[in-house]
């Protein structure tokens, strides 16, 4: 079980709990604004882009090579950018805070 907090571009904060699956799926289940997941979570678009709050970056880890490449499709990429469809929910990411990159 992991508690994950999303902060949207409108500064709306939502904390949700997830057991398994990807962070993108969790966000979609809770209608988090700005996370679309158009490709269904197979790393083939960049519509689930999040910025990991830097104090939690160790928990999520950095983007993989394919993620980094795909993220180039988006404009506001930082070193803390991740594609949330590639972040698996586990106890290890309990408590993380994610800023949704897009509106």
């Amino acid at each position: 079980m992991a508690q994950i907090t999303f902060i949207t571009r409108d500064n709306e904060t939502t904390t949700v709990e997830g057991k398994s699956g990807s962070v993108m799926e969790l966000a979609k289940d809770h209608n988090i604004k700005g996370i679309d997941g158009d490709c269904g979570g197979v790393c083939s678009c960049a519509t689930c882009h999040v910025h990991v709050a830097l104090e939690y970056f160790e928990k999520t880890g950095e983007a993989s090579e394919i993620e980094t490449d795909m993220l180039e499709l988006d404009d506001n990429v930082t070193e803390y950018s991740r594609l949330s469809c590639q972040i698996e929910i586990s106890e290890g990411i309990d408590g993380i805070v994610l800023h949704v990159a897009n509106e």
Binding site: D29, C43, I66
Partner: protein, 428 residues
């Protein structure tokens, strides 16, 4: 936005798959305050279709088909989801649709997201074949899995070597079936990719033990004691416990046609997804629409088109609903670069753009990896499309270059020793 102009109005959506569902939620997001009613004849909670031929069939990762939206989401957004209901007629004058139970549902705005159905070719004997399935719905995949569970995986014949056929072949191979693909044309993926791509995928499947036979026209299916034999025009005979048909689709345009809407290779719509009736829109697989970048009309079978066209239609419906004589409706234009993907075995194919009309290709093979390359389709000096195999960088750069309309140094592009960066590849 003047609130009371959409309150009390009804928007009816026919078809709850990628286009219909995304439209309904986008409509709410755009500020529609009236009713949203979403019909689909499939009783299953709307789900993602791409995994059907991939991980859902092979059983990897997903044991349950991921829903497009949770059931609660529809309630929260006050979208009335009416599953297992068929819409059988549109009455444009009355502004109603007739349901299969005889009831009539009035609408102010109607959106057709009826999609497409698998094309079952008129092969002699196909009606009496056993364990023959198309692959479009979750029911199809469940039937295939059941047949395999009954021990019918010893010989699977897939008729059609397009993306569905090939993905299904890869997934069934993973399940331990003996798989053979029969493709009509001289090479697989003939209509959508260059020969180098056809060759790559042919080799990939053969390497994985899937037999691909091209130039095969299935002319009849003989069935005796529940065992099928697919017979081809060249006389070859292919025994098949299970047959999967992946021969393309037919657009579900009958509802629109019967209502007198303009039909041309699908439901013809304008740039705002509006049909020839100002209160009826169409989105997704069923539409024939203009693509501004390529300046041509297209009918696309993709998730991207369904989702993006749905979003445009939502903006367009709200704009039309709140337009008054003093507040002129702003035109919403659907303008995107199409993109697609296909996953087979451990190969990720990502495609951007439309390659129709290409007269030159540049193949870039990455030095680090044989399985990593990209094909760039040009018409003279214009980059039309890119097919990227295990190469997200090529896909992303291709997307940027196509969007930007930039000119590319083809020699450097094809030279893997040149670092894969825009600065190195663009002609200044």
């Amino acid at each position: 936005m003047p609130e009371n102009l959409t309150q009390g109005k009804v928007c009816v959506v026919v078809g709850a798959s990628h286009a219909g569902v995304n439209f309904a939620f986008a409509l709410r997001k755009e500020g529609w305050e009236g009713e949203i009613i979403l019909f689909d004849r499939d009783p299953a909670l709307p789900y993602h279709r791409p995994p059907l031929s991939k991980t859902y069939l092979s059983g990897e990762g997903e044991t349950e088909l991921p829903p497009l939206k949770s059931a609660e989401s529809y309630q929260e957004a006050e979208i009335s989801l009416r599953l297992g209901v068929n819409v059988i007629e549109i009455n444009r004058d009355q502004h109603t649709v007739t349901l299969s139970d005889g009831n009539k549902q009035p609408y102010d705005k109607l959106v057709l997201a009826t999609g497409a159905r698998p094309f079952i070719p008129p092969i002699k004997g196909i009606d009496t074949a056993h364990y023959l399935y198309p692959l479009r719905t979750v029911e199809d995949v469940n039937n295939i899995r059941m047949a395999l569970a009954e021990g019918k995986g010893k010989s699977v014949v897939i008729i059609g070597g397009g993306y569905i056929g090939l993905e299904t072949a890869a997934s069934l191979k993973k399940l331990g079936s003996n798989v053979k693909v029969l493709e009509l044309e001289e090479r697989i993926l003939a209509r959508v990719t260059a020969p180098v791509m056809s060759q790559f995928f042919y080799d990939l499947h053969q390497k994985n033990g899937v037999e691909i036979l091209t130039g095969k026209t299935a002319s009849s299916i003989e069935t005796e004691d529940e065992v099928n034999t697919v017979v081809c025009a060249d006389g070859s005979r292919h025994p098949a416990d299970v047959i999967v048909v992946g021969c393309g689709i037919r657009v579900n345009q009958e509802l629109a046609e019967q209502a007198g809407l303009e039909i041309e290779n699908g439901i013809r719509v304008d740039s705002s997804a509006r049909s020839s009736d100002e209160d009826i829109y169409a989105i997704g697989d069923c539409t024939f629409h203009h693509n501004p970048h390529y300046d041509c009309f297209v009918r696309l079978e993709s998730v991207q088109n369904a989702v993006d066209q749905a979003k445009v239609a939502a903006k367009s419906v709200v704009a039309a609903a709140i337009a008054t004589s003093t507040n002129i409706e702003k035109d919403v234009i659907y303008d995107t670069i199409p993109w697609f993907w296909s996953d087979q075995y451990d190969v990720k194919l990502q495609m951007v753009g439309l390659s129709t009309g290409y007269n030159q290709t540049v193949v870039r093979k990455e030095e680090s990896d044989n399985n990593k390359f990209s094909v760039w389709y040009f018409k003279d000096n214009d980059l039309l499309a890119v097919d990227a195999v295990n190469n997200a960088k090529a896909y992303v750069l291709g997307t940027k270059f196509i969007k930007g309309g930039q000119k590319i140094d083809k020699a450097k592009l094809g030279d893997p020793s040149v670092d894969f960066k825009p600065a190195n590849l663009l002609v200044s």
